[in-house]
């Protein structure tokens, strides 16, 4: 066991290694929220409750002067110059969105998560991995769906069927583009193009609708706060966890050769 002097890299690796069991020593820390927890290990749909939404600031709408009256059914009231979103409504619409994602996952559909605000990248990428779908965090390129043949071809990368052992299966024709079966948008107000393309291509959309957004832009609006990263991380985490649970019930059919979902 006695060895040569450990290099600095090895010492640092050791320090990181002992952290995992050393964190528990000393005292029990009360359960608390950290942004990395919300991204890496989000709440699953069973944990959805009013208090969870409240603690994630899902009820905070935008200023009353920027109100879109179409969101009137979702508003609870006004306070301090902003509209307060009714969490009763949020619960109902969010539950509906979760069941939509579940059904799409059951039918092994392709889900795309779009979150273009700064700081949404990590949660959107992890959500896509969990739900075996695709992610967009920089900019929705116009034509990704309606002009898929050209725009998706220019993205680079290939769609390659892979068998159980990870080896590439040679096929005569490989798909050149992917049309999603469901689009989840975290800020539909800033991704108008994505919503319109989805409408044109008859793709259902789930979107976070704040008090200044248009609920008609998406198929299944989820009235919530789109400004708070904690709230958007929560919602995208819930939806992706629902899909993951659905896949875990029957992992063989997801990983088989016949499946065309991206690898986890």
């Amino acid at each position: 066991m006695i060895s040569r002097k450990l290099t600095t890299e090895q010492l640092i690796a050791r320090r990181l290694k002992i952290r995992s069991w050393n964190h528990k020593i000393g005292a029990k820390v009360a359960p608390h929220y950290t942004p990395s927890m919300g991204v890496r290990n989000p709440a699953s749909p069973e944990k959805l409750s009013m208090s969870l939404l409240l603690s994630s600031y899902a009820h905070m709408g935008h200023s009353t002067s920027l109100w879109n009256p179409l969101t009137q059914p979702f508003i609870y009231g006004k306070r301090d110059g902003i509209h307060i979103i009714s969490l009763d409504q949020t619960m109902v619409y969010l539950r509906r969105a979760i069941s939509v994602v579940r059904e799409v996952a059951k039918a092994r559909g392709v889900i795309v998560f779009i979150g273009t605000r700064s700081g949404q990248k990590d949660s959107v990428v992890n959500a896509a991995k969990r739900a075996r779908g695709f992610h967009v965090f920089d900019r929705w390129l116009p034509g990704l769906v309606t002009n898929a043949r050209n725009v998706q071809g220019n993205l680079g990368g290939k769609i390659v069927p892979v068998d159980d052992n990870g080896r590439v299966v040679p096929t005569k024709e490989s798909p050149k583009f992917v049309i999603p079966d469901l689009i989840v948008v975290l800020n539909p107000l800033e991704n108008r193009g994505a919503c319109l393309e989805a409408q044109k291509a008859s793709i259902p959309t789930i979107g976070i609708i704040d008090s200044d957004a248009d609920p008609k832009m998406v198929t299944y609006p989820v009235p919530a706060n789109d400004d708070s990263l904690r709230c958007t991380d929560l919602i995208v985490g819930l939806l992706s966890k629902a899909a993951e649970q659905e896949y875990n019930q029957n992992p063989a059919s997801v990983n088989s050769t016949a499946s065309y979902l991206p690898r986890a």
Binding site: I2, S3, H23, G26, A27, K28, S63, G81, I82
Partner: protein, 271 residues
């Protein structure tokens, strides 16, 4: 379009009247100013074995664990309440506060809480240890090999610890640590020092006038991973053994070590 990509509280805030401006800024930060602090605190953790009979009687356990750890954790809570450290583990708090003079007391409490829990986690009652081979040194190959490589035998390790203990006056901890050559070393920290940080190991006797500064030796960063320790604070042994019977206490302690826990720690620290 968000060209700058700088996370900012002003994102999406449009200049309405001044009232709503700040509220909109608050909207995008999960604000801790408004949250209720009473639920965020540290609590005394559970130890695997409460019945440590020859080493700690019922009353001795209450003094050394419940009361002491309770006091230390409560003092830490009072000091850390409202800051960002209240959500961090002891391990983190030790590192964050070690070099800050205004948080010196917080460091002492955090370090003491860590040391005490570390100590009690590695203990098991002496009868159980004798009965079950998986708690004994012979049943755990990695730690046994390590001890035989570094000290001639188990008894040699005990005698080295006793020698160091007989030279210490006052409250101290004696640690067996893994250094940067993957050797086991016996080291001592007075009061609530920690072996993790060289500057806070407090290894020099506080009763001696220091002729050399405490960390004059070449600082070894990241080394010293503690494997198990011994509590030489008075409250640990005066209820059951008497104020001057440290030797018997150390003998009983050596028979009460749960070597499987120590082995786990060693296995998880080797790289």
């Amino acid at each position: 379009m968000n060209f700058l990509r700088i996370p900012s509280a002003f994102h999406g805030v449009r200049c309405a009247n001044s009232q709503s401006f700040f509220l909109q800024c608050f909207k995008s930060i999960p604000s801790r100013i408004q949250s209720n602090h009473f639920k965020c605190y540290h609590t005394v953790p559970e130890i695997p074995e409460r019945n440590l009979n020859p080493l700690f009687s019922e009353h001795g356990m209450k003094v050394a664990w419940d009361e002491h750890q309770g006091h230390v954790v409560k003092s830490l809570n009072d000091r850390v309440k409202g800051t960002e450290l209240e959500d961090h583990s002891m391990f983190n708090i030790i590192f964050q506060t070690a070099v800050l003079p205004e948080h010196a007391a917080t460091f002492q409490f955090a370090s003491q809480a860590y040391n005490n829990h570390f100590f009690f986690e590695s203990l098991i009652s002496a009868e159980k240890a004798k009965a079950d081979p998986k708690f004994q040194l012979e049943g755990n190959s990695v730690i046994q090999q390590a001890i035989l490589e570094n000290f001639e035998s188990k008894e040699d390790l005990l005698s080295k610890i006793k020698q160091l203990a007989s030279n210490t006056f006052g409250a101290a901890w004696i640690w067996v640590v893994l250094d940067d050559y993957n050797r086991l070393q016996v080291m001592r920290t007075f009061q609530a020092g920690t072996p993790f940080l060289w500057t806070r190991s407090q290894s020099n006797d506080p009763h001696l006038v220091p002729s050399v500064p405490d960390h004059s030796m070449r600082p070894r960063n990241y080394s010293h991973v503690p494997i198990f320790n011994l509590c030489l604070w008075d409250h640990a042994y005066f209820t059951d053994f008497g104020l001057f019977q440290r030797e018997q206490y150390i003998d009983t302690w050596f028979q009460s070590i749960n070597w499987s826990v120590v082995e786990n720690r060693l296995k998880q620290s080797l790289v």
